[in-house]
Every structure is written in structure tokens, then in C-alpha cells.
Amino acid sequence: MNEVKLFLGPQHPGMHGNYSVHMYVDGDIIEKARPTPGFLHRGFEKLMERRHWMGNLALIPRICVPEPDINEFVYAQGIEMLANIEVPDKAHWIRMLVLEMARVMVHLMSLGFIGGPTGMYTATYWAIAQRDLILDLFEELCGARIYHMYIVPGGVRKDLPEGFTDRVLAMMDELEVKIPEYEELILKHPIIHARAKDNIMLPAEVVWELGVTGIGMRSATGEENDLRKVKPYAHYDKVEFEVPTATYSDALTRLNLKVREMYQSMRIIRQVIDKMPAEGPVNVPVSPGNALRWTVPEGMVYSAVESSRGEYGYFIVSDGSEMPYRIAVRGASFPQGLLGIEKYLKGHRIDDASIWMDTMGVCSPEIDR
């Protein structure tokens, strides 16, 4: 037997971001895998300690590239917890609208990117084109396509543009037609079935051992462990939605749950637009004076949000000054992206490694920070 060492990444069409796995293979079976993160380590936690509370807002969306809004939200929510601020009613609804639009956007992207590791690029092209139309809406909302910096401590930056909700509803109607087409293309395709069905299992014991959250946890345990239900933030307790679950977690099930979550997000968006008040303030100042000179009361708080990959959180420490004392970031895919790869990638075939990374939701920028 000859053991050969192979590198997956840091550049690979089947992976999101620069991430490397050293694989020791025998034939085409992985015998041992070692995650090698750090290609996207930019030292965010140190940088945040050297910037003002408001100045950080330009920095944090970059921690998670595909889904930046959750960063703005956990950061703002943490500061509001520390400063004991009551966010205006309308701002809560707008935040939910943004978060759910972002969830649809990132699920479309990750659903389409299954085309990378399986070689079915049609899925990628279709889904990314659709995602771009949602990005157009974000551009209209705040001027930026990817990094919005729209949710700020105390509320949101500005009220919605005139007629914005109508265009969001039109987009929902369009998605209602388009998503079944993607399901037809991706979830029923023989290539995807051959590669993803009964392959890349995630048993419930492994979920509890590693601490996996999000779709991985819900697809294996069958429990509705979603922070939006278990510990509701914003106004999630005032809307109706279901949390899709399963008890048999192969790669296809996890792809399936993404689609079902998209439908639930669309259901939430419709209710948000229905229940949102037409008038009212959308932000309040966190502390008096110039936004760059804001101070946040002393304290330590953990703020969490349900991202598309699981629980995403910031642990924020303030010493009462104009800059944060320490901020620790909990990337949602940290458990499966490091310990998961080391312990459970072995035994799979080389060509399944990137499907493993994709359907487990490994996102390297949030692991490296």
C-alpha cells in the first residue's frame, strides 16, 4: 500500500473561499485528512479593537463574504443589549426583511454551487443569475450589492425607498415560479442523485459531538433547533413559519432542506411586508453626540443569530470607551470546518471531499477571520 499526500485547495472550483485540506489517500479513498486554515486570516478581532464602534461597521460585513448581513445584525444587537436600547418597531421589521432576503440569496448561491463539485455548472449559472436579481434590490436599498452596512446599532440606516416593498413582492412571485425549476434541475437530476444520495452522512451523534448547528443539526436530529424559534430576536415571535427538519442526513437531504427553508423565508418576507407599519422612526442614537464618538456602557454580552449555516455569534466586551475592548467571533461552520474535517472526512472518496465541504456549509472566511 502506498499512501499519497494530496492537497485540496486553497483554490478549487468546488469550494467557497481559500481553504486547504491535506489528504492522505490510498487509491481514491481518503485515509487521513488535516484541515489547514489561515489563508483568509485577516486579523479582524484585533482590527476591531483599534476602531470606533461605528467605524467597525465598515469592517465586519467582510467576515462572512456570502452572507454579510448577519454580521451587522449580531454586532448591532450586542451593542443594543449593552446599552439597553429599545429599537423602533419599524426597524425590527426592516431588519427581518433584510435578513430573510439575505437567507434566500445565500441559499440560492449554495444550492447553485453544488454544480462546482459535481460538474453540473448549469445549476451554478441559473442560481447565480437569480441571486444577482436579489442583489439589485439590495443595491436599490442601500447603494451596495454585497456589503450593505445597512443595519446599524440603534436601528437601520434609512427608511425603505418608495415602492421598495412592491418590488420585493414581485421578486417573491418570480421566485415562486423559479425555485421549482431549480428543484427540477438540481434535486431531481440523476448526476446529483448518484453523487449525493445516501452519501456523505451526518449522524446525530456526530452533530452533538462536534457542536454542529443549523441545517446540519436539523437534518440529522429532527429537532426544530432554530434560534429564530428557540430564542427569537427582532420580531420573529410575531410571524408564522415552520422549521424544516429531517432524521436522515445525507447530502441530498441537506440540499433539500435549503430549498424548503427558502420557501419559509419567502413566507416570512410576505408577512413582514404585511405587518410593517407605514410610518415611524427607523433608528435611535446609541449614545449622545457624534456617531464616531459614541461610547458603549461597560459589560460583556454574547449576541447570536441564526445564519444560513447555523448559530453565528459575537462575544462583545466593552470597557466603556469609544472602542470595543474585545470582540470574539463565533463562525457558524467552525466545528465542522476544522474538527469535522479531521475526524469525519476520512473514508470518503477524493471527489466527494468537495461535496462534503459544500453540503456541510464550510465557509472559510468566518473560520479564519
Binding site: 486554515p37 489561515g38 486570516h41 486579523g43 478581532e45 484585533k46 483599534r50 443589549m81 449593552l82 452533538w208 459531538e209 462536534l210 457542536g211 448547528t213 429537532e223 433547533n225 428557540v230 430564542k231 459589560g299 460583556m300 454580552v301 454574547y302 449576541s303 447570536a304 448559530e311 455569534g313 462575544f315 466586551v317 475592548y325 474585545r326 470574539a328 463565533r330 467552525f334 466545528p335 476544522l338 474538527l339 479564519d368
Partner: protein
């Protein structure tokens, strides 16, 4: 689902923390002695706090102490717990939590790399993770100065006489 007050009283009775507070709605913070961390974690785990969210550290350089923070979550009660303990900054050692939460392994490795806190019993002790060929203080310590580090590692280059600006002419 038990109420917040019941859980606070239960934790108070079981852990006898030095300090206890509720920093936010549905969030409890308990400060214990560093020797008590291991027992506290195993108590909280069997109490239903089965999810380890993060292990991290704060550098309180003025008090010459590191504060280790373990954040746990209970999916049945929907409550986060911060378990905190301070260790001496000059000799930062803590017992590993990997026998209770296997997922703690890489969080501890990260804290070791960025703060220099040693976790006894962690099988990855001392291995680098994110930083490659690092030869300075652990970078998230407060006395590490990134500006000085980058100035010493990447010195400013002198611009020579041969430089021709885009506008034209040779610049001094």
C-alpha cells in the same frame, strides 16, 4: 422549559459562583474560580446546556490576568450561559474541556495561538493553526503592537532617484 429564575437558582446552588449576573434577556453569566471550570462545565452539560458555542479569552492587562470565557447554550430552554474564570497572566494554564465537549479542541487551540494560554490535556497543544511561521507575542494580547510588528517585518522602502513619476521628469 424552566424559567430563568429557576435556572439561576439551580446554577447558584450547584456551582457556588463568585459572581452571577444577567447581562441580557435569556443570558446568564457566572464567574467561578479557575479550578472549578471543569466541574462547572460537566454540571452545565448534564443540566441541558449541551451546545458549546465558543471558548475565548480576554486580556485584562491592567489586572495582569486572562479571563477565559466558555459560552454554552441550551436548546430546550433557549438560554445562553457565559462561564468565566480568571487565570494569572504570567502563568496561564487551564485544564482542557475536550473530555466534556470534544468540539472544544480547536477553540482551545485557537486561544493558545492568539493568547498563549496553555490547555493541559489538549492533544493539539502548541501546534500552530491560523498563523504561519509566527515569531512574536501571541497577537491578540494587548501588549502586542501590530504597527510596530509590521514596521519591523516590512520596512518602508526608500524611493530612489531612478523613479520616474507619471507626470514626467525625474523626481528627487
Amino acid at each position: 422549559m424552566s424559567s430563568m429564575n429557576n435556572i439561576i437558582n439551580e446554577i447558584k446552588a450547584a456551582l457556588a459562583p463568585l459572581k452571577m449576573e444577567t447581562p441580557a434577556d435569556k443570558q446568564i453569566a457566572a464567574v467561578v474560580r479557575p479550578e472549578a471550570i471543569h466541574n462547572s462545565l460537566s454540571y452545565l452539560r448534564q443540566r441541558g446546556f449541551t451546545q458549546l458555542c465558543i471558548v475565548t479569552c480576554i486580556d485584562w492587562i491592567k489586572d495582569s490576568e486572562f479571563e477565559l470565557v466558555y459560552i454554552l447554550f441550551s436548546w430546550t430552554d433557549g438560554i445562553h450561559v457565559q462561564l468565566r474564570a480568571r487565570v494569572d497572566r504570567n502563568n496561564p494554564v487551564m485544564v482542557t474541556a475536550t473530555d466534556i465537549f470534544p468540539g472544544a479542541r480547536y477553540y482551545e487551540r485557537e486561544v493558545t495561538e492568539f493568547f498563549g494560554v496553555e490547555f493541559t490535556g489538549n492533544e493539539d497543544a502548541g501546534k500552530p493553526l491560523f498563523l504561519e511561521i509566527w515569531d512574536d507575542l501571541p497577537p491578540l494580547r494587548k501588549d502586542f503592537d501590530p504597527q510596530a510588528y509590521s514596521d519591523s517585518k516590512f520596512p518602508m522602502r526608500e524611493r530612489g532617484n531612478e523613479f520616474v513619476s507619471e507626470i514626467g521628469g525625474t523626481e528627487k
